[in-house]
């Protein structure tokens, strides 16, 4: 009887030893994968830092010297030369914007975007952005205004929200030859709903699926392409979504566009 018990017992020991070995191997695989993931993330972080610094430092140098030349304080520069230097400055500014947008895009894509969510008055924020664009709107002979509630508290990253509203208002002004750009805010269930409505050139229906893609440029005004990085709306959509909102577009070619985005209301609204 003692012999009969011994045989199955020794088989069980081997089974346990095999299972332990399998577990140890599986653990090693998972640890390797985690280590590779961390290394990849660190390399990407380094790439973002190095690319940012490496690209922007020479741009600062070029911009600095161009500004010095055009000021006339560092030697005589005639009017024609000043014009060409101004074009160089425009080009440099476009590059600076592109680098910043690329960095934002990279941070968003790698999940490294840091949000600082606080409760703030969205109506007040939008009015601030509108105020900053009034001079540009006036120069473009457009009427830029705010319509909506006097105060509405949302829970979001304030700086990113400024970026969203700024991008949308900037686009609306760029693509509107005459008429109005109106920003409005209302409440819908537990969200603030912001609409940016313009009477601009509108967007073709077949372009709708691509409007929020990276490097989308509107066909409508090809010359405006020079002022756009093609990343603005991609960044806007990404920021809205990462803060718990949604964004959609309605547009009619030749009549104008409406960009509508939502942000969660702050609980202190209730």
């Amino acid at each position: 009887m003692a012999m009969k018990l011994k045989e199955p017992y020794s088989g069980l020991e081997q089974e346990v030893a095999n299972r332990k070995k399998d577990l140890a191997e599986a653990k090693e695989v998972v640890e390797n994968q985690l280590r590779l993931k961390t290394e990849f993330e660190e390399r990407e972080k380094d790439f973002i830092s190095v690319a940012s610094h490496g690209l922007q430092t020479p741009l600062a140098l070029i911009r600095g010297y161009m500004t010095m030349l055009v000021s006339g304080n560092y030697g005589n520069v005639d009017a024609e030369a000043k014009k060409y230097i101004a074009e160089c400055l425009n080009g440099t500014d476009r590059l600076v914007r592109l680098v910043k947008d690329l960095l934002s895009t990279s941070r968003i894509a790698s999940g490294r975007l840091k949000l600082n969510k606080t409760s703030f008055d969205l109506a007040d924020l939008i009015n601030g952005v509108i105020f900053s664009f009034q001079k540009v709107a006036k120069q473009a002979h457009l009427e830029l205004s705010y319509k909506g509630v006097n105060k509405i508290l949302v829970k979001a990253d304030r700086d990113r929200t400024i970026e969203i509203v700024t991008n949308l208002v900037d686009n609306a002004i760029k693509y509107t030859k005459r008429g109005t750009v109106v920003v409005s805010v209302s409440k819908e269930r537990s969200y603030a709903v912001v609409e940016v409505v313009d009477t601009g050139v509108g967007i073709k229906k077949n372009a709708f699926p691509h409007v929020f893609d990276k490097f989308y440029f509107s066909e409508a005004l090809v010359s405006k392409q020079q002022e756009s990085t093609g990343l603005g709306l991609y960044i806007v959509k990404s920021l809205v979504e990462v803060m718990g909102g949604t964004i959609r577009l309605e547009s009619k070619e030749g009549q104008g566009s409406t960009f509508t985005f939502t942000l969660p209301l702050s609980k202190t609204n209730v």
């Binding site: 610094h53 922007q56 600062a60 140098l61 000021s71 560092y74 600076v96 600082n116 700086d159």
Partner: protein, 124 residues
């Protein structure tokens, strides 16, 4: 004549800022990294510091922290001059004691001089 200590590791930028600052009537002392910068703050007693943030051998944030912790060091206004433009970097620098934060790709040389003059006593 006010003395500006420029702490910046990019030599072409150092040359450009030197031209601008000297033309504006400042005496300019340069350091190429944070370690050298700290040493020159003690040795040269500048009236104001222009500080790059991303540098080898002690970055600008570390320098600001050390300055803030050195109770024996008289407070010298420090203006950060950087390509970093994220709000968290600006907040961090100001929390560590920077009196202003200038973004290199946005501030013009003339603006930089105006910002420096703003933090200096008006009597000199």
């Amino acid at each position: 004549m006010f003395k500006v200590l420029l702490i910046e590791d990019d030599l072409p930028l150092v040359r450009m800022y030197e031209v601008v600052l000297k033309k504006a009537g400042f005496e300019v002392v340069c350091a190429l990294n944070g370690e050298e910068g700290l040493a020159k703050i003690k040795k040269d007693s500048p009236d104001v510091v222009l500080l790059d943030l991303v540098m080898p051998k002690k970055d600008g944030f570390a320098l600001l922290k050390e300055l803030g912790e050195d109770k024996g060091q008289a407070r010298i206004p420090v203006l950060c001059l950087s390509v970093l433009h994220q709000q968290e970097d600006i907040d961090r620098a100001k929390h560590l004691g920077a009196v202003d934060f200038l973004i290199k790709t946005e501030v013009t040389p003339d603006d930089m001089v105006v910002k420096i003059r703003k933090v200096l006593p008006s009597s000199n």
